[in-house]
Every structure is written in structure tokens, then in C-alpha cells.
Symmetry: C2
Subunit: 570 residues, 2 copies
């Protein structure tokens, strides 16, 4: 029996458009003799639909589109479509109004619904906000083959593999007891670095443990901060990878289930990615392309400072949208170095993108003049530094507004963490492209890019000391520890939830750790107002980072008191 | 037996400070012969602690503070403290690591833990993200009185009262079957308009239904976007209100449980609020005061346009922090009317606050000059309007940064809904004071204020046509329907999830409804970057509003196509 994996890129909420995509793949699959077509989790509405699900007319429209799609599909093709089903008993039994579901469509009808059993409520996931958990193992029979049906998280509870249980039930174990021939999974699993390897190792373990072939169908594409990487795959009952779809692009893979052997046969196996830098690059290119296109922008604008962050973002944007659709704006001040211009122009030349240069010296004088009385007797400080950044932010937004461009912001994760950035200044933008990429990773991606392609990032951009150039002679390391140290401390704080004691025990200076913790907490108000940032790690600032602003937890026991500097709103 | 309700205002994460507050109230209560002291939900860490709970050292510190508090408390006083308890079985049974708990402290010991059973996962609540639900009814015995213990949401599932069941269990019913003498509830229930009446009606119903006296202890204070209104109260077994604490301030109320009658006796009953305008006023004053103080600001700054929104926010800030701590900044442009200055100065005089005036005409010319080549051949439009707003935003932030003031933003809910505001301009600020207050409500609060106090808001501010004054002769109603119509449509869309058909059936023009829906969806990217806004309704933009940005659901069936204007990032 031929089974097709449709690795689709839906637009959130575009029910008829997404149904049309499923229909087109179904027609192609039917023409190739496919009997069963798999699509991603919530393929009809796209994942995550978020609070659109609270709108009854949205749910109603989804149901209508599902019925219509069932009628439109080719005969002799069974299709699994991700959708929601109403929980008719909710008001009586207590519980959420919807099930995160898969519908089996066949011969013009919606034949059966299956409900997701394990609902994630960590990181970016809020599934208990909308959904009631399904209580039973799901399967159906087609051509005498029993096929177990699971949805995304349903696979992520193999207590042997993880060394602990995350939910009470293990749907794979339940299906194995029922003796199904094959387990299929419809997923929308967001990208993080190295996640594809985790998925495959996990399912290889489960396949061997339960002697079950498993087909994993993932969504692909960028939806706001989330990037879905695709890389759908299948493992046979021995845990061997029998097919792998491409990463970071739509794909359709056909795989044969051998009814006699009760197992999957080898199909096309796209090589897995081998380099984290390469993987992140492709993820970010997809994230920018999809955010722009799904918001209906064709062109983007960004500030080019000659620094490494804006250089990388410009390269990503160019790869995503084409050099003719990227405008770089140079906005030198009297504090700008000569190389800030020459490096930015060299980058633009390498990329083939247009630039505009708008010096900001006169505008700085204008603000100085406007504030001269009020600021009399005070010294040049952070207020004046921020004015420069906000002049640039205003100019960039003026260009974005005038010409209908999307403004990309260029801050990295290290500076977002410690607040080394100006709110309403360089933080401005519709999308924060590298907000989840630590500075040390920015360097390694640029080095990978230059070695992989021709030299895109001018070497001087990589070798010079990073600087915001907001006052004469300023470099980042006046205010921050070296990025290797900063990024390691941040990794331990943000990702590993380590205590001060643990971080100091790992070799960091206690005073430095204290200071970074303080800066991390203080910058919360800035991050709250940041644009969506493309997520590439398991703990990004954004929808999965939910911290109070007005709070007083320091994580520094005994010795630490928050000083009055917390009140300085920069 | 004397029972005290401690209606406390904790600082999120300030474990030792919050423990100290509990200790002080406990000492005072013991001196008054109190036997049992009640504190709010999670009183040790403050509600909501959010992702601080993911930090093991935070949880560990909470446990240590709890043990210490138990030792410090006076003898012969039992105290219920809101805290977390680790779920020791989580890795074996599957489930979250913590229970949202109440600890019974007595005679130097932590004697018992009780677990919250119903975990809210709607609106601003994410309790399944952190907590496992308790499975059993909680009670303890003191002086031969059996006291049932519930936490906040545990009371909110009376299917008779609501006409539907929200959760499988009803903890009140379970406690009633066990035959407890009294039910206590520790809550952190955020304010929304009219919510106190709902709480009392609900508990009056449950008290009568189960013949159970109930004591309801609420948190008070502002924590970021959430305002907790206090108004703790108790009902006897007949459903009569036996005590009510004050609203919007800390309070301690002592009430007698009559062991012979097995019921509560009458204590002090603060009058309930009678006017929504008054209630909202007090809520917003508290919200501003606490956000400023808990972030360690003593002074605030805001732009004064002479319009009604900034006038109301200035009045709120003055009431919250004192007239000497509020700075109003007038930033007239060549498009500003004369009354924009005179009205703003009249308001400042009424409030007794300082002002500064910084004309922006020259800065506007500076931007025009900087962009003259790039914008050649284009017409004055939204880009130029936004430049003005962003110049003002830059000036305000410069003042905030220079002097360590908190900038308050002044946009109302109606304009946040339709995007009639400038990102990085008038949206700038650390706190959006009236972001959940519709424009029509802004008027009614100002009218209430003027009739309640002396005339604070100059009458001309209330009577003149609202205008952003970003181009000559501009008024809001050039771009928006009258606010009465706009606010009614928004109420139906945002709060009642009505379809276009339902809204049109209620008497609105279909074209107007379509346009408002389009504007609401388009403005999502702006709202995502807005500062926290004080929540006063059951559906505020902010943590409880989780919409996709890059999406294509219009709610307008058939006829509606999103036009290319969606791409214009303003």
C-alpha cells in the first residue's frame, strides 16, 4: 500500500487556501497510486491557530471546509486531515470545548475523528487553553491494515527513552497492545537546533521497543516566531529510517507499506543536516520568507551599521526574498567609525542589495537643542545614546511606512538578554530575525556562510571589536563581559535554570554572574515590547518566556540586593 | 473562634519580603486573639509568579522561607499560607512538577499541605503550565471545627449557578459531603468590572445550596497588567454577607466562627462599589501606583496633548503617586490647535502637576530634510504623521531615561483595537494605563471624576471632537466610526465572539463591521509590541489575548478578501 507524506506549509486561519493545498497534493498522490495521504497536525487551519479557536464562527467555518474538502477529494484515496472537533459533552462533563483532532476523509465523507491525547502546556504550547485530551487509543483499518493514529505530542512520552514519564498515558504502548500494523503521526513540531536528531532517536527507540513501524509527518514553514522544519520521516519496525523528507521546504514523499511483511519499505532518504550553523541559517531564511509573505510584504528594509548582526540579517533577508527586495539603510552619526560605512557598503555590494545613506548628525543636534534647557547641567549618558538609536528607528519606520516595506530588527539573543539594545530604537521592526541567536553563534554562522558560499560577510566585520558606536570609542566589552563568557552564563541561566552556585562552580566569577542575572531581570520590560523573534532554541524570549516585570526575585541568595538602578527605564 | 482575613499585597518573587508581611499581620492577629489567619493564594511568592516557577532555586527558596516563617509565627495561631509543593511522583506518574498549594503552619511547623484541584487555563491563566491538579478534597480540624480548604478556581464550578460544568469536579460539593463546618478559600482573583458582584452571587448560591459558610480571601494590588481588587468577604450558611474587606487596598478583617451555631457571625461589611466608573478609577490608580512602586520608580512622565486620554491618565497618575511626582510634557507641532496647549495647561493646573513644553516643529523639519531625497514625489501621508508621533515618543523616552522616570502611555482600548495609534510613538511607555478602557468609558470616567471631585478634567477636553492633530483639521471621526458605534462593535467582536451576521443583525452596517474586523486583525503586530496594559475587562489585549500575526482569517465569509493594505506596516 502506497502512503504519501504531505509536508505542507499552511497559512494560519486560511481555511480555504489550506484545503486547496491539501486537495492539490491529494490529486497528485491519487495519480501516483497512493492509497493513504498524511498531512500535518491541524493542517486545515495551520498550527498554531491560537485564540482564533475561541471564535465559534472560525470553528464552524473549519467544519464546513472539512466537509467540502471530503467531497472534493479523489476517490479511492483516504486522507488524514488535521482539524478540530467540538466536545459535545463539555458543558455536562466539564472540560474544554474542542478536541485537537485528525479527520479521516474517504469517499466523499468525513468517516472518523481521532483526538489528541497528550496536550503540551510547556514552552510555547498552550493546548489546555483550547483542547480536551482524548482518552482512547485511535486507529482505523484500511485494506486490512490496522493503522494507529497519533498527533504530535502523543509520541513524546516514552519513559524509557526520556528516563521519566511526562504524562500518565503512552499512546504508542496502547496502540501496540491493540496490535496495530503501523502507527502514523501528524505533527506540527517547531524547529530547535538539533531537534530532528532527537525526534529520530526517540522514534527509533519506540519503534524497536514496540516493534512498530512509525510514519512521522511534520508541518513546514514559519508562523510568527515559530519555524517548522519539516524533515518528516519514517522508521521501520527495526528502527531504521526508511524515508526522510527535505528540511525547511514543502515536500511530498511516497513510501510503501508491505502488507505481507507488515513493515515499511525503503524510500527516498534526504540526508540529515550535519551542521548546526547550516541548519539555523536555513531555518532563519524560511522564517523571514514566510513571515514576510504571509503578512503580504514583498520588500524589507533594515539598518546597516557595518556590524556583524545587521550583516547577517541582511544576508538572511537576501537569501529569503531576493536581493532586489532588500533595502539597507546606513545612518552614520559623528560617533560612527569610517569602517562602519565601508563595511556596510562592502556587505551590500557582496549581496547586491540597494542602500540609502541618511546621516543623523543634524537630527541629533535638533534633539539636543530641543532638550537643552531640560537637560542643562546633566552629563552625556544613556539618554543621549538612546536618542541616536531612536532617531534611526524613526527613520527606518518612516521608510517602511512610506513604501510599505517590512522593517527587520537585527538584535541578537545576548543583547536582548541583558538589555544591551534600545527600546523604540534598534529594537524596532516587524520581525526580530536573530533574537534567539546568541552572539557567539552569530559569528559561527557568518564563518560558516563565508566558507560555504563565497565571502558574503566582509572579513573585517567578523574580526573587528563589536560596538554600538553611540559614543566615541565605545565597544561592547566596555559594558559586557566577553561574549564567550556572557553566552555561557546566559545558556546556564536561561536554558539550564542553573543557580548562581552552579554557575560559579562551573568556573565563572561570582560578581559577573550576579551582574548578568541583574541585567537579565531588568531587561524584561524591553523584551515584553520586542517584535516576534524567530525561535531556534528550546527557550527563546517570546511566547514561551513568561516572566513578571514588576518583581523582586534575584536568584542571588543573601548577598544580593536589587539596587535603585532597577528603576531606570532605558 | 476568631478568624482573620489578611488581604495582602505581595511583590512577585519577593519571598522574604512577603513572608515578613505575613508575619506582621500574624503578630497583630495573635494579639487580637485570632486562632486562624488566612492569606491569599500563593501569598508567599505573589500571584502570578509565572516562569519564576520553572527555576528550581526559586522553588527551593520558597520552601526555605516557608519553614522559616513557620518558626517565626506566634504560638497558638494557625496560618494558611499560599505556596507551592513539589510533586514528588511527577517523573513516575507523569505530570507537572508542582502543586499550587496551601500550607497550614502551626506551632513552629509546616503541618499540612493542600493542593488546588481546579487549574484555570483560560484568559490570562496558564496554571497547567506549572501545576498538577490536586485529586482530593482538602480539610483540617482546629479546635474541633472541620475546615475545608479551597484555592481560588476551586470555587468556580457550581454547575447550578453557571448553567454548565467547567471542570469534572466540584470541590465545594465534595467538602459538603465530608460534612465540614466551614469552607475557606485563598484566592488571587484579578479585577474586572463588576466581578465582585459575580463572586458574591456565586458564593451566596453555593453557601445556600450546600448550607456551608464560606470565607473568601483575595489578594490585592497590581502585578504588571493584572489588578487584584481585594474585596475579601464571607457568607454564612444562609448566603448572607457577614463581612467584606475594603477594595483596592490592603486590609485585615476579623470574623467570628460560632462553634455552637456552626456558622459565621456578622462582622464589618465595607459597602460594595456601586458605580463602574468609580470602581475602574480606583483599580487604575492602584495599578499605576503598584507598577511604579514595584518597579522602584517614584516619578512618572507622560505626554499631555490636551486630549481626553492623556488628561485621564494624568489624573490617575496624580492620584496614584502625588502631584509632585507627575511631569506632563506638551509637544505642540504646527498642526496643533491652540486649545491643545490651553487645555493641557488647564488640566495641569487643576492637578497641580509640573509641565514642560517642547515644540517639535524644528525636529519635524529635520526629518523632512533628512528624507527629502528618498521621499521625493510622494505625498504627505501616514508615514509623515507617524514621524511626528515618534519624535514625541523619543523626547518622552529621553526625559524618562535622563531622570529615571517611568513613562506612561495614554492610548485607550478602542484605538489599540483598530490600530489608531503609532507604534514607537504614542504607544511608548512602561505601562499602558487605559489600554483596556474603551473610549466611551474614558468619557464616562472623566464625567464621574468631575462630578465626584471638583472639576479635574477641563470641560472643553470632554466636549471637543477627539483628534490626533497629525495633519491640519484632522479629527478621529475622519478615520473611525463614531465611538459609540465603534465600541459596541468591538465589544461584540472581542468579548462576545459574535459573527458578522450577528453584529449586523444587531443593527450595525455591514461595511462598517467588515472594516472594523479588518482593522482589528491588521493591528495585531502593534498590540504585540505594546507595553503591559492594566486589565479591567474579561478580555484585555495582553497576556490573555493570544492571536497570530501572520494569518488570514477574516471572519467575513465569502465577500471579504484581505487587500494588499495588510502589508503596510504602520
Amino acid at each position: 500500500m502506497k502512503i504519501a507524506i504531505a509536508q505542507l506549509n499552511p497559512i494560519i486561519g486560511d481555511l480555504s487556501g489550506n484545503a486547496q493545498k491539501i486537495l492539490e497534493v491529494a490529486q497528485q498522490a491519487a495519480a501516483n497510486g497512493v492509497r493513504l495521504l498524511l498531512t500535518p497536525e491541524l493542517s486545515l487551519c495551520g498550527y498554531p491557530p491560537r485564540d482564533l479557536l475561541l471564535n465559534p464562527s472560525f470553528v464552524e467555518a473549519m467544519s464546513m471546509n472539512l466537509q467540502q474538502l471530503a467531497q472534493d477529494l479523489p476517490a479511492n484515496l483516504a486522507v488524514l486531515v488535521g482539524t478540530v472537533e467540538k466536545n459535545a459533552q463539555a458543558h455536562i462533563t466539564g472540560g474544554k470545548n474542542l478536541f485537537n483532532s485528525i479527520a479521516l476523509l474517504e469517499n466523499g465523507k468525513v468517516k472518523q475523528f481521532f483526538h489528541k491525547r497528550l496536550l503540551p502546556t510547556y514552552d510555547v504550547f498552550d493546548e489546555n487553553r483550547y483542547f480536551e485530551a482524548g482518552l482512547q487509543a485511535n486507529y482505523f483499518t484500511i485494506d486490512n491494515i490496522d493503522i494507529g493514529v497519533t498527533i504530535c505530542e502523543d509520541l513524546w512520552n516514552d519513559e524509557e527513552f526520556w528516563g521519566k514519564r511526562n504524562y500518565a498515558a503512552n499512546p504508542i504502548a496502547d496502540l501496540s497492545i491493540l496490535g496495530v500494523d503501523l502507527i502514523v503521526n501528524l505533527s506540527a513540531s517547531p524547529y530547535t537546533v538539533g531537534k530532528q536528531r532527537s525526534r529520530e532517536e526517540m522514534l527509533q527507540h519506540s519503534a524497536v521497543r514496540f516493534q512498530q513501524p512509525i510514519i512521522y509527518t511534520n508541518q513546514v514553514g514559519g508562523n510568527d516566531d515559530l519555524i517548522f522544519d519539516g524533515f518528516s520521516f519514517a522508521v521501520n519496525a527495526k528502527g531504521e529510517v526508511m524515508c526522510r523528507a527535505q528540511g525547511f521546504t514543502t515536500d511530498v514523499v511516497i513510501i510503501e507499506f508491505d502488507a505481507a511483511q507488515r513493515d515499511l519499505q525503503l524510500s527516498s532518504v534526504t540526508p540529515a543536516s550535519t551542521s548546526a550553523d547550516e541548519e539555523i541559517w536555513h531555518a532563519l531564511v524560511l522564517g523571514v520568507r514566510d513571515y514576510a509573505q504571509k503578512c503580504r510584504f514583498s520588500k524589507v528594509v533594515l539598518g546597516l551599521s557595518g556590524g556583524i548582526d545587521s550583516s547577517l540579517v541582511a544576508a538572511i533577508a537576501t537569501a529569503a526574498l531576493g536581493k532586489e527586495n532588500v533595502l539597507g539603510v546606513l545612518m552614520p552619526s559623528p560617533y560612527s567609525s569610517e569602517h562602519s560605512i565601508s563595511d556596510a557598503l562592502a556587505l551590500a555590494k557582496n549581496l547586491g542589495i540597494q542602500t540609502q545613506t541618511i546621516p543623523i548628525g543634524e537630527l541629533m543636534q535638533g534633539f539636543d537643542h530641543s532638550l537643552v534647557d531640560l537637560f542643562a547641567g546633566t552629563e552625556f549618558g544613556i539618554a543621549e545614546e538612546n536618542i541616536q538609536s531612536r532617531i534611526r528607528g524613526n527613520l527606518l519606520m518612516a521608510i517602511a511606512n512610506k513604501f510599505g516595506y517590512l522593517l527587520l530588527s537585527t538584535g541578537n539573543k545576548s543583547e536582548m538578554a541583558v538589555g544591551y539594545c534600545t527600546l523604540y530604537g534598534d529594537m524596532n521592526g516587524g520581525l526580530a530575525v536573530i533574537a534567539d541567536v546568541p552572539k557567539t553563534r552569530v559569528y559561527s554562522i557568518c564563518n560558516w556562510l563565508n566558507s560555504h558560499q563565497s565571502t558574503v560577510i566582509p572579513p573585517h566585520v567578523i574580526t573587528k571589536a563589536p560596538s554600538a558606536e553611540l559614543k566615541p570609542g565605545q565597544v561592547d566589552q566596555d559594558s559586557l563581559p566577553p561574549y564567550e563568557i556572557l553566552d555561557d552564563i546566559l545558556q546556564r541561566l536561561i536554558h539550564e535554570h542553573q543557580s548562581v552556585g552552579e554557575i560559579v562552580a562551573a568556573g565563572h566569577e561570582s560578581l559577573v554572574v550576579d551582574r548578568i542575572i541583574q541585567m537579565l531581570a531588568r531587561a524584561e520590560f524591553k523584551r515584553r515590547q520586542a517584535p516576534p523573534g524567530l525561535k531556534i532554541t528550546d527557550r527563546a524570549f517570546g511566547t514561551g518566556w513568561r516572566m513578571p516585570i514588576a518583581s523582586n526575585w534575584s536568584a542571588i541568595k543573601n548577598t544580593y540586593k536589587i539596587n535603585s538602578g532597577l528603576g531606570i527605564y532605558i
